[in-house]
């Protein structure tokens, strides 16, 4: 007898990133621009705070919602940086990364068959998370010409009587797009008009460049009551392995999400929560130093890719460039596979982030400048070899 897998799970496609990862893993001397996490170790003061908490024997469970002190730190941080206030007693939930928070939020609000509108190219988990919550994913294609921003009129076109949730991620992985505040205002008014729940994943918000402010849709008029604000420490604070995310939302929603979290996860690990307190309260200067470094690398990689003839718009946030490789005459996957096999550079095919990513590849600049330079040299050679063959 073999165990039968549930149909809705069997139907899920494997992540395009996972396939690629397995090929890369079998190779040596690969320079990878395919990594979606900081190349910095977590700042020392944060690591040291976690060590201290272990020394004091803080090794138990925490409240399902997360340590009260951490929730207070989150409330202060969100109010200071996003201008929305949440009650740490019942409007904040600490999760195992934003990924868990997305899953909880979708499961908490969706009835089977409810539609979720989101923008592609986007993070790999959005579509499967919606399906696992028995919802129907409704992607909107964003375009390079618009800087991959989301337009209110496109959302309007995708609306149906079953639309329940709008899911957004700005700055965006993989495009680095941010939202202009006037368009965000239009989207907010649309959500109020059609009574949509907004799930906003703002994990890259601190990594907004050119000294530009980040705007959260939660802060717009009438939006707090319908928004589930998701954030975490993985990207800006270089804490991917600690797995700390959080959700801020009205108490009824947090209560519902907490129920699922309590039965499936119980709580995020206490040492990670202790580290998160330090990050939120005293991590800013280290974060700013990392952001500066990313910004320099962004300028570098963007100019070089454009000079090679791969049109690449300057990302306004996150740490990826989404480069247009259509002039190579290859599709994203073939381009990425050949670049990997012929020149040992790993990039991620744009199609891993949805069909709208066809014709593009994602290059991460969360990699040291020396490796970026080496990768760019090899990409340039690859470009010349393609031109010769043509």
């Amino acid at each position: 007898m073999s165990i039968r897998v549930a149909k809705h799970v069997e139907r899920l496609p494997r992540s395009g990133i996972r396939d690629f990862f397995e090929i890369v893993q079998g190779m040596s001397d690969v320079v990878s621009l395919g990594i979606g996490e900081p190349d910095f170790a977590t700042p020392w003061n944060i690591r040291e705070a976690a060590i201290y908490s272990l020394e004091r024997g803080k090794t138990g469970y925490t409240s399902n919602l997360g340590l009260p002190r951490l929730r207070r730190a989150i409330a202060n941080y969100v109010e200071r940086n996003f201008h929305v206030s949440y009650n740490p007693l019942n409007e904040i939930l600490v999760t195992v990364g934003v990924s868990e928070a997305i899953d909880l939020a979708l499961r908490a609000v969706l009835e089977p068959g409810d539609e979720v509108i989101y923008h592609e190219p986007c993070y790999v988990s959005y579509n499967p998370s919606v399906q696992l919550a028995h919802g129907v994913p409704v992607p909107i294609q964003t375009r390079a010409e618009d800087g991959f921003t989301l337009r209110a009129e496109e959302i309007e076109k995708a609306l149906s009587p079953r639309t329940r949730v709008l899911m957004m991620n700005f700055p965006t992985n993989p495009t680095g797009a941010t939202m202009p505040p006037d368009e965000l205002k239009k989207i907010a008014s649309l959500c109020r008009k059609h009574d949509l729940v907004v799930l906003t994943d703002e994990i890259y918000s601190e990594l907004t460049y050119d000294s530009q402010p980040h705007y959260s849709i939660a802060a717009y008029e009438g939006m707090r009551e319908r928004t589930i604000f998701l954030h975490g420490l993985s990207k800006a604070y270089a804490m991917t392995g600690w797995r700390i995310g959080f959700a801020c939302a009205p108490a009824e929603i947090i209560e519902a999400m907490m129920k699922i979290h309590q039965y499936s996860i119980l709580c995020a690990s206490i040492m990670s929560q202790e580290a998160a307190i330090e990050a939120l309260e005293r991590g800013e200067s280290a974060m700013i130093a990392m952001r500066r470094e990313y910004e320099l690398r962004r300028n570098y990689i963007c100019r070089e890719l454009n000079a090679m003839g791969f049109p690449t718009c300057m990302p306004k946030g996150a740490f990826y460039v989404f480069s247009d490789i259509r002039l190579s005459g290859l599709d994203s996957k073939t381009f990425s596979l050949r670049l990997l096999k012929e020149k040992k550079v790993a990039v991620v095919p744009g199609t891993a982030f949805g069909q709208a990513g066809e014709g593009f590849v994602r290059c991460s600049f969360a990699t040291s400048l020396n490796l970026i330079k080496l990768a760019l040299e090899r990409i340039s050679e690859f470009r010349s070899s393609l031109a010769k063959a043509a």
Binding site: V24, G34, I35, G36, E37, N173, L296, L369
Partner: protein, 159 residues
């Protein structure tokens, strides 16, 4: 200018063309800015950070706390400048607290540094007392670690 100075502080040898790419400028603009910073005396010089255990391990470095009687006019400046002019002195700072000047001195041998303190520094008019501390090992210097290197391991491709 801030971004340029930060780059020059951590890697002054980076080719100007590459600095230009990092800053989104043209190479000529970078050269002009550096020339301006040098002319204005914002940039005083460039230096290499040397691991003394690998090169010239016998060199002796001492931190010397110096108590000074300040002068009616000029305070500590005249005597500090006088101390700083000796070739042996690498750095000289006016400090708050129990002593006044912190002088960092380098010499080939312990005896040489001791002689400098005994003969030159402590006999100077206005110097009341000195306390000398010899460096035993360097862990971090100018923001650079001498031993501790951590290279975080990452998955080769991740979402």
């Amino acid at each position: 200018m801030d971004a340029l100075l930060r780059i020059l502080q951590t890697n002054p040898l980076l080719p100007r063309a590459e600095i230009a790419k990092l800053l989104g400028l043209e190479e000529k603009e970078v050269e002009a800015k550096i020339a301006e910073l040098e002319a204005e005396g914002v940039i005083l010089g460039y230096t290499a950070i040397i691991n003394r255990e690998k090169w010239d391990p016998d060199t002796v470095t001492a931190l010397i706390e110096v108590k000074v009687t300040p002068e009616r006019e000029g305070g500590f400046d005249r005597i500090a400048a006088r101390i700083a002019r000796f070739d042996e002195v690498l750095s000289c700072y006016l400090m708050s607290g129990r002593y006044d000047l912190l002088v960092i001195v380098q010499g080939r041998t312990l005896r040489e540094v001791a002689a400098f303190v005994a003969e030159k520094l402590s006999t100077m008019e206005g110097v009341q007392a000195t306390a000398t501390h010899f460096r035993l090992k360097t862990y971090k210097e100018n923001g650079t670690f001498h031993h501790l290197v951590t290279i975080p391991e990452r998955l080769p491709v991740s979402p």
